[in-house]
């Protein structure tokens, strides 16, 4: 591998990594508060990408408007899922997981008759290439890094600086105590669902101009996000960020050297080894 290729795949790794971070952050936030894993996260990623396809490339809205609209629409959907499923099963972890699994297969399968059998393509939003450290990188891929970065910073500010964010952290520590202090647990859980779904939609929306679109496109990013949050420790936001960067780099550098499938197998072997020696991940706490 030449140095140029290494720099190039490192930068591409950072841009893939920032998508992974967005996916993993939503998952880890929802896990921290409710101890559930959103299996529908990949399907929401797919819907985010298709939202861009319809709103931006079919109906001609500006990309940023389409991006915000996709996040708002799917965020609302997340809130509704909390109301109709999570609240209906009274927060039971296993029924919620299975219901979310069913929601995933439903959205994927319904995608074929609704969106059509053929792969969809979104035209490029940012054109051209740019010279970074002596290698040429497409602006499309480069732009992912600041956009995802802005969302990550925004989420951190929201969680650490606002009253709603404080309520989320309170629920994460102790749901009953938070409720006794006047936190409306239902509304805040709904908000966590909305944020998680909106972040997944944002990841899909960012990737839409780069990859082809089909109803199953969310499976790979979902698995990657799983690996990241196991690696970083469930419920840990710094863990998700570090894990996302690591996996993005592994994915890009190993995939350039050996191919995409061996890269996935390698990350899985890594996870199995990690589980053997440190089952809580890098920053995680013991499972409840």
């Amino acid at each position: 591998m030449t140095p140029d290729l290494l720099i190039q795949s490192t930068i591409i790794g950072l841009s893939i990594g920032s998508i992974y971070i967005l996916m993993a952050l939503g998952l880890t936030l929802m896990f921290g508060m409710m101890h559930i894993i959103n299996f529908a996260h990949g399907a929401i990623y797919m819907l985010g990408a298709f939202a861009i396809y319809y709103i931006f490339s079919q109906w001609g809205a500006p990309y940023f408007a389409a991006f915000v609209l996709a996040m708002l629409l799917l965020g609302t959907f997340g809130y509704l899922v909390e109301r109709s499923i999570y609240r209906a099963v009274k927060g039971g972890i296993e029924p919620t997981l299975v219901a979310l699994l069913a929601l995933t297969t439903f959205l994927q399968a319904a995608g074929y008759p609704v969106f059509g059998q053929l792969d969809k393509h979104v035209p490029p939003v940012f054109h051209g290439t740019r010279n970074v450290l002596g290698v040429m990188i497409s602006v499309e891929r480069l732009m992912i890094i600041p956009m995802a970065g802005a969302l990550v910073v925004g989420l951190n500010l929201f969680i650490n600086k606002t009253k709603m964010g404080a309520a989320m952290r309170a629920i994460e520590q102790d749901k009953e105590a938070a409720a006794l202090q006047g936190v409306n647990v239902h509304v805040v859980n709904g908000l966590a669902f909305a944020i998680g779904f909106a972040l997944a939609a944002a990841s899909g929306a960012l990737m839409a101009p780069i990859f082809k679109l089909d109803p199953m496109m969310g499976e790979q990013p979902l698995l990657k996000a799983f690996i990241i949050i196991i690696l970083g420790g469930l419920g840990s936001i710094p863990g998700a960020i570090l894990g996302g960067l690591m996996l993005g780099l592994i994915d890009s550098i190993v995939a350039t050297a050996l191919g995409a499938e061996p890269a996935f197998l390698l990350s899985f072997v890594f996870i199995i080894l990690l589980l053997l020696f440190k089952p809580t991940g890098l920053f995680g706490y013991a499972p409840p």
Partner: protein, 321 residues
Amino acid sequence: MRRLRVGVLIVLVLLMLLVPQLGGDYYVHVFALVFTNVILAASLRPSLTCGQLNIGHSAFMSVGAYASALLAKNLAVSFEVSMLCGALLAAVVGLVIGYPSLRLRGVYFAMVTVAFVEVIRLIAQLWVPLTRGMSGLSGIPKPNLLGVTLVTKASQYYLALFLMLLTLLILWKLESSRLGLIWKSIGMADNLAQSLGVNIANHKLLAFLLGCFFAGVAGAFYAHFIRFLFPPEFGFLMATNILVYNYVGGRGHFAGPIVGAAFLSLLSEPFRGSAYETIFFSIAMLLTILFLPGGLITLPGKLAELRGWKSASAHSPSPAA
């Protein structure tokens, strides 16, 4: 009541024995696949009873299917041997990936099992010299049982029926033994079970490996029955379906996965293989979780309760009288 149940069971088995005589090859084919699904669903139950949400069960079916098919195709091994080897290999693979993952609880375990499916699928896809990868493995011989090749669909149907009944018998005996009680206690409160001297790690592993073994059996039969294997077939979707059979049927009783698998596979038969099959499955699953959390097996009880409540209110003297 017990006598009634035994009677119903005997009638059901007799009916199943008569399917090839009453219906054509189509029904034979459909029911043989239903039996495979029943084996898969029932084999997941021990693990679920221990509270381990396994969303990767189709991976082990895939291992059993490929192992048995390759042994029979390349080495002309007879079905009983290739099936046992396939099932054992599935259990060994289960041991290798299950041992580290079973240290995890709840959602951690569930997430890792999702990755199992992908790993096994990728191996089947990438190991082209052995599995033929994405071109699919074809030319798998028909099951050759004790030197006799089962040529007709009907004879293969009886093989499926036998395998299903044997699997159910073994799993039922295990579940109604002390072991079943231990599994249940782990599922309800593993800390408490541990404090009472139950080795929860070993029992979880045993339940998991049993499931892998019988998933391998189902896979082996499937391979020699359909005679074509394609890696993506054993993906996430099939793994979810196996879980769905258990939930829609009901988690509370051994009959749950059997009822769930039979009900869903028969009802979805008109649109087998299309996207609508999955849509139907997922809607059935969501409705069950939301409106019938105990699954289909609690339906008769609920209906009886409803009727009893209605007739009781009809007979009770009205305050005006």
